[in-house]
Symmetry: C2
Subunit: 141 residues, 2 copies
Amino acid sequence: MRALASDDFEKGHTALLSQLTSVGSVSSEQWAAHFDAMQRAGNYHVVVIEDEAQRALVGTATLLTELKFTHSCGKVGHVEDVVAAAECRGLGFGKQLVLALLDVARALGCYKVILDANEKNTGFYEKCGFAKRELQMRIDL
Amino acid sequence: MRALASDDFEKGHTALLSQLTSVGSVSSEQWAAHFDAMQRAGNYHVVVIEDEAQRALVGTATLLTELKFTHSCGKVGHVEDVVAAAECRGLGFGKQLVLALLDVARALGCYKVILDANEKNTGFYEKCGFAKRELQMRIDL
């Protein structure tokens, strides 16, 4: 496991994400521009698991940190885009990724970490230490 | 209504937020450092409503935008920290703030906007066009 690197487009980062949700058409140039923008912003922490023999990513998850004026000008972590490759399910990669992000969040001084999950995934996140709290609401633009 | 400004600590920004959640102890210097960090990051959009006669804020809400590798390298808006002053409830300020943030999100090209709400506040957000989707989960660090 390591941080997302600038050559991970070639290692199937978007193909992996497509197992989670719609990725759409993303060129290597678009991917690289997004990677650079996230590096500059400094508040995106993307971890990946690589199958080094295959030079292919088999897991990824993102922590976005948010500055708050509340909670003594505290920081909140948002867990986003957690996915383990279908062929690796059951190996505990998902939990390893989430626990790694919690370590990052602790190191950065986040007072809480939140995420949004489908009802069917709540059991997995409960095993990672999360509890159900509020309702996520959405509007499509 | 306008964007949060550098002198809004003096206009009661933290006192207003304390009607929503725990603010803790925040000095004007801490507030200013946070304000500057958010300006530099460029992905925080805080709107406020000011009672100009009183030189006091009576409403605020925040949009945090998140870059995604998914959805054609799209952008998601997160609505956070929506509060209207207790003495102004019923004047529609909350809805004005949320709709203003949706306009910002549209202008920035967000493909969706999400938020987390208590069950008791879901009716308000439904009037703003949101629908219940997932479950928010949390871990305190």
